[in-house]
Amino acid sequence: MIGHDVFLPTPLPVLCVGITVMLAATAWRRSVNRSFLTGMVTLLLALVFAGRHTGTALDNGDSLFIQDQWANYTAILIMFSSMCILLMSWRDDAHDRTTSLVDEYPLLCMLGTLGALTMVFSANYMPFFLGLEILGVSLMGLVTFRHRPVMPGYEAAMKYLILSGVSSAILLFGVGLAYGVTGSLRFMPPVTIGDISPALPVSATIMILVGMFFKLSAVPFHMWLLDVMEGAPVPVAAFLAVVSKIAIFSSLVRYFGTGNQPPFLNDILYVVIILTIMGGNLLALRQTSLTRLLACSSIAHVGYLLIAFLCPGRLQSGAITIYLLAYTASTLGVFATIAAFATPDGPDGTVIAQWKGLFFTRPFLASALSLMLLSLAGIPPGIGFFAKFEIAATGVEYQRNLLLGALIIGSIIGLYYYLNIIRVMMSAPSLPSASLNRHVRPELMALVIVLTIIVVIGGLFPARALHPLLPVSAIPSDTEAEMTMR
């Protein structure tokens, strides 16, 4: 029964309660603002309780959930991102003239966050799978919140539904095979036991990997991301790019561990990383839509992250933590700037050409956006610089020369398209200044400022960001032992 002895990281019940309260409030009287407020408060509470849990974990590692530094770190990132995203979309929907009440939006956001957190904390296939699906289904709903035109939103939802259905099925099939092999649902790669041939666990692992790659949008499985992000409203795109990626990456690291990967995985990862970096960057070159471009860039960044994942060593944990932070802060910053720039009845800021001359009309926003983009490109003084530096360091330490080559080439290509946006902002303005968003919402402005400060401070003093998060290799120790045993 649900007793004090069940191990459960506190943020999960806090979120559940929050969602229930929100639901109840909605049932009582619908109010968008109240929903948003409830969501914010819930997330804040969850953040406060981030490091805590109820009950005690089972010694044999059979608990459904796990809580360690890594999980806490990614959970904090996720909750923080969710808060940012809620903030980004707050009055956006409240002032939407076409629909009077859209309080499902914060509800779905919260549900998505819950799913992501569940994945992060899970130590068992079952919560992992449930979290994944909660996140996925919430996203399907969220994607359709686009104002105008509506059709792309539905189309995106449809694509996401079918594709994620396929990938979930693949992943589940893999999980089923793993379960069949080991008889346990513990969240770790299956190992051969008894008379069962080793081919089966291999195929199970690969299928799980493919499912995760789909959610991570690594290259052969990346196509949905562009369309879905374009079809989705800007904050939801941010959600897709940040929250769901962090969650799945967190699970990936937990699942495979941070040690040496078995050779067959190594090969596949090698290929996928190179494809991801090259494909993501090359695709981004020709995009004219900012959200699509960011989708491509997030694909590329996943590739960079995977390099660190593939290079176990002293620097790995630091590289992954700082890179996640850099990616989160910078991407959120870009999306926040887009949201700040967008107007209810003017340009929505997703087409790059609309940004022409922003440097002259909105110098602060333009500077902030430039800083974020530079950080994404890995140029000082943004935090992304140090993050990329760390990634390269792990690569060098492990002598993954091919990957480093891809990193360099990808970075140079990336530099081009990031700078291209800055270039557009610096060209002479073409829009009549009337159509500009004159009144940026204060909370959005505050968000942009906060993210800017994070990016700069993180870039100048990365040690502060690096230090407390270091013990990242906090996968269950026995898993590690098994990994090394193999």
């Binding site: 449809m158 594709l163 291999v202 195929s203 494909g279 695709l283 020709r286």
Partner: protein, 655 residues
């Protein structure tokens, strides 16, 4: 005292130059002229004082002034240092005195030009550079002056920059001398590498001591020779000098007489110890000098521009000096340099005065009969012409030319064991040159000053212009008697001055050599009178078709040849490569990357289409399939997922 005066000597014109440049356009023309002339006067006085100081000292005494260290570094050191010895003493006297006269002349000549401050700024700088060149005790320091005169000549030749022809001429002069400079620099680098210093004394000592290998000496001498040839407009660099006439006449006088072109001669004379050890280079010098004599004279013979005639004559006369240097009689070269400075300055200044008074008419065939309207100038020009032609006994040119000829006769070059180049042959060429010299210069005299008057005159040559002319007349006539051939009274002041220790035994010199040297110019004069001087001249106009004349125009032909061979291809090539090729390559790569991105995009639609093409029909074109398949399809995305799964599994299978 000398240590103080030596820098002052250079500083005086330099300061004048600075003053003139800084105050450009604020001072009156008169003040500008005064500043320039006074500064030149000061340096002339100083140089005289210095000469007296030097001569009063011991025979091998020098005045040295080391100002400050320039570059001291492991393996090499150079100082900003000046040194006055007998050779440079001759040079500074020539430079300052002739320079002073030219400046006085120019102050009047350029009176009305708006750019007079710039003009005199450059002129004084020119003299200063030349003084640096002459006085430097270090080859690197000498190079400052060496390039400085080049720069100043560029600025002065292109002084009237309104006309593109002038600036083109200026650039040509600079480019050609710059090539020589580059070679000279190479020579210096070689010496610096071998010796570790470029101090002239140290270099010569090292060379004579045999510290430097003979091939290095030969190479260094060769490089330095090229530099000297370019500076002195010898074959094959002769083409810039005639064009340099584009500048104001005093400039031409300065370039031709006192500074610039004599630098090459001076340099070789200064380094004669080095050249003495490089026999092939000496032979080359002599041969090129002899060739230049003839080429310059022939070309001068057919020129119709008064100043051009004088320019080619300069080239020709410099040929004499190089011949003398090549034959090892560098004293003779310096002597000729001095006398040449006198009479060539005289000729140019006179020509300038004539040109000013005839409304800038320079074509000799449009002038004529000037002796009636300007007898003074006629006299001055005739004196100059006589000195140039070397009319015996009365002119300075005779003595110096005689010294060269007598020095050339006994020379011989042992190039290899079998091949010996005899000086007799060179002597013959020089003699022929002397004949031609007389011929062409008196052609000028007869055409311009005799015959019918052709142009209108104006004004009067001002007093300030006549004073220098008078001085130069005297010098041209009497400047030569300080050194006489041995058959004459044994007066060897000049050689003694330069090289007191040397013995003067030209005993083996046959007496008829002098006679030949004396008669040949007179013969030239006679022929010229026959051809152009009589009331009904034999040749009034140039018969352009005559083969001999065309042959004589080689000097200009070579110019054309250079133009075709070097200048035009260079222009064409730079025009062709005006865009950066590498830039194109990079841009192309960028375009390639963009294409790649497009094809990546297309790949997600192509993949299955291609598979289907292979699998099913193989008949229908891929195009139609492509047309049916569009982007953004869920099924294709799903297919990619399935494909990725297949590939991943296959990798696991294969591994």
């Amino acid at each position: 005292m000398g240590e103080i005066l030596l820098p002052l000597l250079i500083l005086s014109p330099l300061a004048a130059s600075l003053i003139l440049f800084v105050t450009a356009g604020r001072m009156s023309a008169y003040a500008v002229g005064t500043v320039a002339c006074v500064s030149m006067g000061i340096s002339a006085v100083i140089s005289v004082v210095l000469s007296v100081l030097l001569l009063s000292g011991p025979a091998t005494g020098i005045v040295q002034a080391t100002l400050w260290p320039w570059m001291h570094i492991a393996g090499f050191s150079a100082d900003i240092a000046f040194m006055l010895d007998r050779i440079s003493m001759v040079m500074i006297l020539v430079v300052t005195i002739v320079g002073l006269l030219i400046h006085i002349y120019a102050a009047n000549y350029m009176r009305d030009d708006p750019g007079i401050a710039r003009f005199f700024g450059c002129m004084t700088l020119f003299v200063a550079s030349m003084l640096v060149l002459v006085l430097a005790s270090d080859l690197l320091c000498l190079f400052i002056g060496w390039e400085g005169v080049g720069l100043c000549s560029y600025l002065l030749i292109g002084f009237w920059y309104d006309n593109p022809v002038n600036t083109a001429a200026a650039r040509k002069a600079f480019y050609m001398t710059r090539m020589g400079d580059a070679a000279l620099l190479c020579g210096m680098l070689l010496l610096a590498t071998a010796v570790g210093s470029l101090d002239i004394g140290a270099v010569l000592a090292a060379v004579t001591n045999g510290q430097v290998t003979s091939s290095a000496v030969n190479m260094a001498a060769f490089f330095i020779l090229i530099g000297a040839l370019a500076k002195s407009a010898q074959i094959p660099f002769q083409t810039w000098l005639p064009d340099a006439m584009a500048g104001p006449t005093p400039t031409s006088a300065l370039i031709h007489a006192a500074t610039m072109v004599t630098a090459g001669v001076y340099l070789i004379a200064r380094l004669h110890d080095l050249f003495d050890l490089a026999t092939p280079v000496m032979a080359l010098t002599a041969v090129l000098g002899a060739l230049t004599i003839l080429m310059g004279a022939c070309t001068a013979l057919v020129q119709s521009d008064l100043k051009r005639v004088l320019a080619w004559s300069t080239i020709s006369q410099l040929g004499y000096m190089f011949l003398a240097l090549g034959c090892g009689v560098w004293q003779a070269a310096l002597f000729h340099l001095m006398t040449h400075a006198f009479f060539k300055a005289l000729l140019f200044l006179t020509a300038g005065a004539v040109i000013v008074r005839t409304h800038h008419e320079q074509d000799i065939f449009r002038l004529g009969g000037l002796r009636h309207t300007m007898p003074g100038l006629t006299a001055a020009f005739v004196i100059g012409a006589s000195a140039l032609a070397g009319l015996p006994l009365v002119t300075a040119g005779f003595y110096s030319k005689e010294m060269i000829l007598s020095g050339v006769w006994p020379a011989h070059f042992r190039l290899t064991h079998e091949l010996i180049l005899s000086g007799h042959f060179l002597w013959g060429m020089a003699l022929l040159g002397a004949f031609l010299t007389a011929l062409y210069i008196f052609r000028c005299v007869f055409i311009v000053f005799f015959g019918k008057s052709g142009t209108t005159m104006r004004g009067q040559t001002s007093r300030f212009m006549t004073i220098p002319l008078g001085c130069l007349c005297v010098l041209s006539l009497c400047g030569g008697i300080i050194e006489m051939p041995t058959t004459f009274p044994p007066l060897h002041l000049f050689s003694a001055l330069l090289d007191p220790a040397a013995s003067h035994s030209h005993a083996d010199e046959p007496g008829w050599l002098i006679l030949a040297g004396a008669i040949v110019p007179l013969a030239g004069l006679g022929v010229a009178w026959v051809l152009w001087g009589r009331p009904s001249p034999v040749m009034r106009e140039i018969p352009g078709q005559a083969a001999v004349i065309r042959f004589a125009r080689t000097g200009e032909g070579i110019d054309m040849l250079y133009d075709r061979l070097f200048v035009q291809p260079f222009r064409f090539l730079t025009w062709l490569t005006r865009h950066d090729i590498l830039d194109y390559v990079i841009t192309g790569t960028g375009r390639l990357a963009r294409t790649a991105s497009t094809s990546v995009l297309r790949a997600r639609t192509d993949f299955l289409g291609t598979l289907a093409l292979w699998g099913t029909s193989g008949i229908r074109g891929a195009d139609r399939l492509l047309g049916q398949i569009q982007n953004g399809r869920v099924r294709w995305y799903a297919a990619w997922i399935a494909g990725g799964l297949c590939a991943a599994l296959a990798m696991a299978v294969l591994s």
